[in-house]
């Protein structure tokens, strides 16, 4: 006969500290196995969690990944460097502009190219806009996961404005494919920087209003404070990066520690949490958005003029279009570059950038010629999810939802 146990919320909470069932038990119990996902609203895509439950409490949690595996790394071996740019959009598809930039810088490191200041500034600008866009989605989705619908609505209203800006800059709202090796797809349109500045001005009050719905909200705090605590040592041991690492109090930010693309010129703070729970990760994302706006304003205040494409890169990657149409040499060169790929030196490079989700790394092995011999992608979401089996044990099922929401991962990047 089935025994009905009605746990109230507080009883369930106290059950969390209860020792594992054993002696003194009157009826026979067994653990239940439960599969959450791959299509479950709170697993943010196609993550599947194979959980083992003792009542409502998790005793084991195995993430099953790979449902979105497309073989991006292998695909890269079969195409030239510039052809792979659209595929980088589809890694962390919430912040494609940041991925484009990380990939371009990795290949530029292999080709030993220096990009002009204007190109660097545009890249920083787009990467920070992408960070705001990504954190807004992370915040909104986290809100939904723990029952705060309104936050999601306000966050998406702002993201729509960002998408309008991206659309105008790159020609696409979502899959931007904006960076090119040694430069960009095109220069910023007339008046675009002004519209970015206007966005920043109206965004900050709305951000404060949205965060105010959660920060001192008792319901939200009940769901997140003390849930999914990750110690700094664990965070480092499991290779966590990005806001999830900083939420645990480790102040590692590649923009500060290994500056790239001119990040050393900008003043910004790296927010860190103190406790490492879901609430800290939420606070870190909120503060990072403010810091991103701070960086964007500095870029706009001192926006460099000049070229947006490295002169040397024109010879290797893309001759200027008007020359292709009028000059025989450039026309032939264009055909050679497209069909055989840009001729890069042999060698190995690794570059990682501070993406919204964490450190996105590209490891390229080249044996010379137009295609990479091997391209390894170090996806932050993949590393961040590796801690789930540790952090979820002992939690309630509803805590898992909050933990997943606070991790803000993207399966496109994890499975790649």
């Amino acid at each position: 006969m089935a025994t009905e146990i009605a746990f109230s919320d507080s009883a369930a909470k106290s059950a969390r500290v209860r020792p594992a069932p054993g002696a003194g038990q009157e009826f026979e119990t067994e653990k239940m196995s439960l599969s959450m996902g791959p299509s479950h609203p709170s697993t943010h895509g196609v993550l599947r969690l194979q959980m083992e439950l003792d009542g409502e409490i998790l005793t084991k949690c195995d993430p099953v990944i790979g449902y979105l595996h497309r073989g991006d790394e292998k695909i890269a071996e079969n195409m030239t460097y510039n052809q792979f740019v659209p595929y980088t959009d589809r890694l962390d598809y919430i912040a494609p502009l940041a991925n484009n930039m990380a990939y371009a810088i990795a290949v530029e490191k292999l080709a030993k190219l220096e990009v002009p200041a204007r190109c660097q500034a545009i890249r920083v600008l787009t990467a920070e806009l992408a960070r705001v866009s990504s954190h807004l989605l992370g915040l909104g989705a986290f809100g939904i996961d723990v029952g705060a619908w309104t936050v999601f609505m306000y966050a998406f209203e702002e993201r729509e404005k960002l998408y309008k800006l991206f659309e105008e800059l790159t020609g696409a709202r979502f899959t931007t494919s904006y960076s090119r090796i040694g430069g960009l797809q095109r220069d910023v349109p007339e008046g675009w920087t002004g519209r970015v500045g206007a966005f920043c001005d109206q965004f900050l009050p709305i951000l404060e209003e949205t965060l105010a719905l959660l920060t001192r909200n008792k319901i939200f705090m009940d769901r997140t404070v003390g849930v999914g605590v990750i110690s700094p040592a664990d965070a480092i041991a499991y290779g966590l990066t990005g806001p999830n690492l900083r939420g645990s109090g480790v102040g590692l930010d590649l923009r500060k520690d290994k500056p790239y693309s001119g990040y050393e010129q900008y003043r910004f703070d790296v927010p860190v949490g103190t406790k490492g729970d879901c609430y800290d990760r939420y606070l870190v994302r909120g503060e990072e958005m403010r810091q991103s706006i701070r960086i964007i304003r500095q870029v706009l205040a001192n926006f460099p003029g000049g070229d947006w494409y490295a002169k040397d890169a024109r010879k290797i990657f893309a001759p200027p279009k008007d020359k292709i149409l009028t000059s025989m040499e450039e026309l032939i060169q264009n055909f050679m570059i497209v069909t055989e790929g840009p001729q890069l030196p042999a060698g190995e490079v690794y570059f990682e950038a501070e993406n919204p989700k964490g450190a996105l790394g590209f490891y390229i092995v080249s044996k010379g010629g137009g295609v990479p011999w091997r391209l390894k992608i170090r996806a932050p979401s993949f590393a961040n999810l590796s801690i789930l089996p540790k952090v979820c044990v002992g939690c309630l099922v509803s805590d898992v939802v909050a933990i997943l929401g606070s991790f803000d991962f993207v399966m496109g990047e994890c499975d790649r």
């Binding site: 729509e160 095109r186 105010a212 008792k218 703070d269 927010p271």
Partner: protein, 179 residues
């Protein structure tokens, strides 16, 4: 200072009763109820498409009605998802555009494969393929989703030509040996 530890709020006794948050939350949403709409009644209302938008790829003609594509197949080569298929064809020498020599016999873009990346437009040495403003495509069958040459020209229309390189070639041929 570079690294700033975040301050975690301590709730007052009143805030712990859930009531102030509920009240202030309702105030925020009430304010938004009376703010202007941010949504569009699609498809009656359509968003403005900015210049340089990457919509459905199309083929274009020059102002004289000549198809600009010379079937060099560079777009077919560069297309990352391999959505383009071209069968090159000859232009008969006695045709008015005989000096161009080649034009595509068939040109298919599989819109189920296309990822709208715009690399075809970027590499095209003739400015013949353009990603234009159309963004919504639908069809009942897979075959319907393949845009053939006629459809591509219908979508593309005519765009101005700033270089007139084939007209210049014809003029050079007429005035004597080009090289």
């Amino acid at each position: 200072m570079a690294v700033i530890p975040l301050v975690r709020p301590t709730l007052t006794l009143l805030e712990r009763t859930y009531l102030p948050q509920i009240a202030s939350g309702l105030k925020t949403t009430l304010k938004h109820i009376f703010s202007p709409n941010v949504t569009l009644e699609y498809p009656e209302q359509r968003p403005a498409i900015p210049p340089g938008y990457r919509g459905v790829p199309t083929l274009v003609m020059d102002p004289n009605g000549r198809e600009k594509c010379v079937s060099c197949q560079l777009c077919e080569f560069v297309c990352p998802p391999k959505a383009i298929r071209i069968t090159p064809g000859e232009i008969p020498a006695d045709a008015p555009t005989g000096h161009v020599e080649k034009a595509p016999q068939a040109f298919d873009i599989d819109m189920l494969r296309c990822i709208y990346c715009g690399l075809c437009q970027e590499v095209c040495p003739e400015e013949a393929i353009f990603l234009q403003n159309q963004y919504s495509m639908s069809g009942y069958t897979r075959a319907e989703m393949v845009n053939h040459k006629d459809r591509l020209y219908e979508l593309g229309g005519t765009l101005p030509d700033s270089h007139h390189k084939w007209d210049k070639k014809l003029a050079a041929e007429k005035s004597g040996p080009a090289h």
